[in-house]
């Protein structure tokens, strides 16, 4: 069972997967709290065009992914103001990018295989260089989110109040989307563009239903994310089925019962939880003001 770990590509997959699982779980928590899960999905789809374009130009897909997702995240934060509108604006950009991706791939030979690996991930194709790159980028992402995490959370719960306290709400929102774009770029290596949701949203969506305190939720999300990834690689490495299938199945398989069991206390409870959060958080913020 564990014999697969003697192969270097499995080791690479394991290390890159672990880094990605941690970063995605942390960023995913904020994504959910901000109600931006659709943007998360859209950004990953947009990455498809970038990856396809990179393939066409003969460079590593990760660069194309980063260029496209970051550009798109800026466009999204400029375009949409209200949630409903934002979803649609995001969706339009997403669809157009996918169309571009198709165009790029159709210009490239080996159309189907390339599309497949971009869309569904080829974790066993991760090289040592990729691991280093993922590690560095992941570290930067974690540091930045550690710095902006608290005001970001505050502005997610009560944007107006945060603004009066001097939190640059809009700028934070845009920076956050860029962080998400970068997270998606590295996550794609593991699960592919279409399945990013499983690692980005899955762990936090489950954690948020189990504990209400932000730090605990993030911590639990990291544990879940790591567990899905490790188990997924282990199962995928020992069977003919793809790793990304196992990761999505685990992510969903844990989420579903948790979601169903917490159904009765559904919206009221979570709304209350958020209220509590926002109070603690504004308390924190005011304390910080005093300290400053």
């Amino acid at each position: 069972m564990f014999a697969i770990f003697q192969y270097p590509f499995i080791q690479n997959a394991f290390i890159a997967g672990s880094i990605v699982a941690i970063v995605a779980a942390v960023l995913g928590y904020f994504l959910i709290v901000r109600g931006l899960s659709f943007a998360g999905h859209a950004l990953s789809s947009i990455g498809f065009a970038g990856a396809a374009g990179a393939v066409l130009l003969g460079v590593s897909p990760i660069y194309g992914l980063m260029v496209f997702t970051v550009t798109a995240s800026i466009a999204i934060s400029v375009l949409g103001r209200e949630v409903r509108e934002r979803d649609v604006a995001t969706g339009v950009i997403m669809t157009f990018a996918l169309g571009l991706g198709i165009l790029f791939l159709s210009l490239y030979h080996g159309y189907a295989e390339q599309a497949y690996s971009i869309l569904f991930g080829t974790i066993v194709g991760v090289s040592r260089d990729d691991v280093v790159f993922t590690f560095v980028l992941g570290l930067i992402l974690l540091v930045v989110i550690a710095i902006i995490g608290r005001p970001l959370l505050f502005s997610s719960f009560d944007a107006e109040l945060a603004e009066t306290r001097g939190v640059p709400v809009r700028a934070l929102g845009s920076i956050f989307l860029i962080l998400i774009a970068l997270t998606i770029s590295i996550t794609t290596q593991v699960v592919g563009i279409l399945l990013v949701f499983a690692l980005l949203i899955g762990p936090s969506a489950t954690a948020i239903r189990l504990v209400h305190q932000p730090l605990q939720a993030i911590f639990l999300a990291i544990i879940l994310g790591l567990a899905y990834t490790w188990l997924g690689i282990l199962l995928g490495g020992n069977s003919p089925w793809p790793v990304s299938f196992f990761i999505t199945a685990l992510s969903f398989g844990v989420y579903l019962p948790v979601r169903l069991l917490s159904k009765g206390i559904d919206s009221k409870r979570s709304a209350k939880g958020f209220e509590k959060l926002s109070i603690t958080d504004s308390a924190l913020a005011s304390q910080k003001d005093r300290n400053d």
Binding site: R84, E85, G264
Partner: protein, 259 residues
């Protein structure tokens, strides 16, 4: 006021309501006469909205009897007009004022509903009654809160209801708009002889038009004229903690626990 021999439009006897295993309303008994203007007061979570939903037939009592317009409440009655609380409309909502008001007339019917003269006239009539004809073709989402509220009242009026249930129609309106809306509702009450049940947080803007107050707290209730109900002994009993009432300059101020 109305003669006492008329059959009450709303009658509750020993009603208990449970939601999610919790008792929300306990042992409520009251009767309301046709044409009365009743204001429902009480802190958040007191069960005001639950009470209204009970009257609309959206929830069933755990025990006791509820009669509205002489029968057990059932959804779909065109004799009741309803405007729920906290409705926030997307400012990009792609419909006109007229379309929203029209829902009150035939929004629940199947089929596409061809435009007709009589339909248009009925809608215009209701719009006129709330002084909102000029808002008919404006994008609904971009109207101000007070303007939206008038149109929603017009919507509730379209079926010629005998009972108008308005959940916090004055919330988020400034004083001028509040007076506008109160005057409008009062006009409807007087000219149509409709019964009004209106949830509010402050009785003062409504004092001129209120017949009786239904005060709810902790699942209990008291009903009567403002003078009778808004007293220290009454509210202290309802809240279960000391409450002070200041009645001065023709206005009520309730001070205490969690008012």
């Amino acid at each position: 006021m109305n003669s006492e021999i008329q059959e009450p439009i709303i009658q509750l006897e020993r009603v208990d309501v449970q939601l999610g295993g919790r008792v929300i309303l306990h042992n409520i008994g009251l009767s309301i006469q046709p044409g009365e203007f009743v204001v429902i007061l009480g802190p958040n979570g007191a069960g005001k909205t639950t009470f209204l939903r009970l009257l609309l037939g959206l929830i069933q009592p755990a025990s006791g009897s509820v009669r509205v317009l002489g029968q057990t409440p059932r959804v779909g009655s065109h004799l009741i007009g309803y405007a729920p609380q906290h409705r926030v409309f997307d400012s990009e909502l792609p419909l006109r004022g007229r379309d929203l008001v029209g829902f009150g007339l035939d929004g629940h019917r199947w089929g596409i509903g061809l435009p007709s003269r009589s339909r248009r006239e009925k809608i215009d009539q209701a719009l006129k009654e709330v002084d909102g004809l000029d808002l008919a073709d404006a994008p609904f989402g971009q109207l101000s809160g007070g303007e939206q509220q008038r149109l929603l009242i017009a919507q509730a009026l379209l079926t010629d209801p005998r009972l108008l249930i308005l959940d916090e129609p004055l919330a988020n309106l400034d004083l001028a708009f509040q007076q506008d809306v109160v005057a409008l509702i009062d006009k409807v009450c007087r000219t149509r002889g409709a019964t009004i049940l209106l949830v509010a947080h402050d009785i003062n803007p409504l004092l001129q038009v209120t017949d009786r107050v239904l005060y709810m707290a902790r699942g209990h209730s008291a009903i009567g004229s403002p003078d009778e109900v808004i007293t220290e002994s009454n509210l202290t009993k309802l809240y279960g903690s000391p409450v002070q009432v200041v009645h001065t300059l023709g206005r009520y101020f309730v001070v205490g626990a969690e008012v």
